[in-house]
Symmetry: C2
Subunit: 214 residues, 2 copies
Amino acid sequence: MRVEFRLSGSGGQGLLLAGIVLAEAAILDDRNAVQTQSYGPEARGGASKAEVVISDEDIDYPKATDPDYLLALTAESYRTYGALMGAGGGRGLIIVDASVPLSSDIKARTVSVPILATAADKVGKKVVANIVALGVLGGISKAASRESLEAAVLKRVPKGTEELNLSALRAGFELAEAALAMRDARRVDAADPRIAAMDDARKARKGVDDGRYR
Amino acid sequence: MRVEFRLSGSGGQGLLLAGIVLAEAAILDDRNAVQTQSYGPEARGGASKAEVVISDEDIDYPKATDPDYLLALTAESYRTYGALMGAGGGRGLIIVDASVPLSSDIKARTVSVPILATAADKVGKKVVANIVALGVLGGISKAASRESLEAAVLKRVPKGTEELNLSALRAGFELAEAALAMRDARRVDAADPRIAAMDDARKARKGVDDGRYR
């Protein structure tokens, strides 16, 4: 089972790092992952994107062709990439920052989450919005375990910022829980059948249920 | 014109960062670039790789299928990825660290460069071997200008390490010059026709000759 993520926002938001950490966390869970950063005309003019593909199989094509999860931290990235969601027939979910006004032109399933405000107000540093977002993506998709996300964050963030970034990640987990609990409001699938199937396959392989996410 | 790079070595050598910086430098030169990091069976067991594709055209397929340049910093990565070089009919060049014994089983064009020793002895920090390697790759391929490589390094390295990393990059440029000067010994192409064509196309587009590399 293949799960595709597209992380989009503005250039300075650190989404490349978030994508790297997500991919590395999946590896710690014994999955395969490819992280891609594209630059060029599409990435210029303010919108930045990073992609991650996670799979229990070999990954033949490393880019997200019809993302299962789109993270959009800015209005521009929401417009640009939100409009592409579902075009390939997928049932992808848009996770958009709560500061971005929603558009009725964008038809994909959408959940609005206060990622930037949580980074600024609750964690206390705007720059960790990428790690808050990582926690949200991990918590909603369950494509990587909390333990692996924490370990991958600790591996990649600058020395001296470990506690700050762990707080940010955990704040993201909490936002994910809240989003999942609100599924009535915006039709978030709490138990994505694709992820459940991936989990089942992995557990069958390992022969254990590690109960890693509740 | 499309140029493919594969950077391989061991997990802790920072080749992902080198790939990111190479891609970002190409963008500063108005090219397109995609940086990819794959994890999974192929990346486990010590060998790590990152890939960069640079092109003046759109990049349809973001992975290196037949690399023009393979960087190999360890014996394992040299064996693993060196054996694949030229399999697709390409004339790719292997840039291997001088600490690695060469094998007659690996037939591709090869240049042996003291990257790790230069980082440890001349720059004074083993951890900047990735940036020395970046200078070598940039200097030999000319796929990104020196100015852009320097700017991209400054953007991505941790604060307080700027001078160290610039020294490492410039040490890499010098190694590249030496390797190019030794082309008789190991048949390095100083003026790769693919890169020259890319340069010509770019200059024609811009209508200028910026003389950015001598």
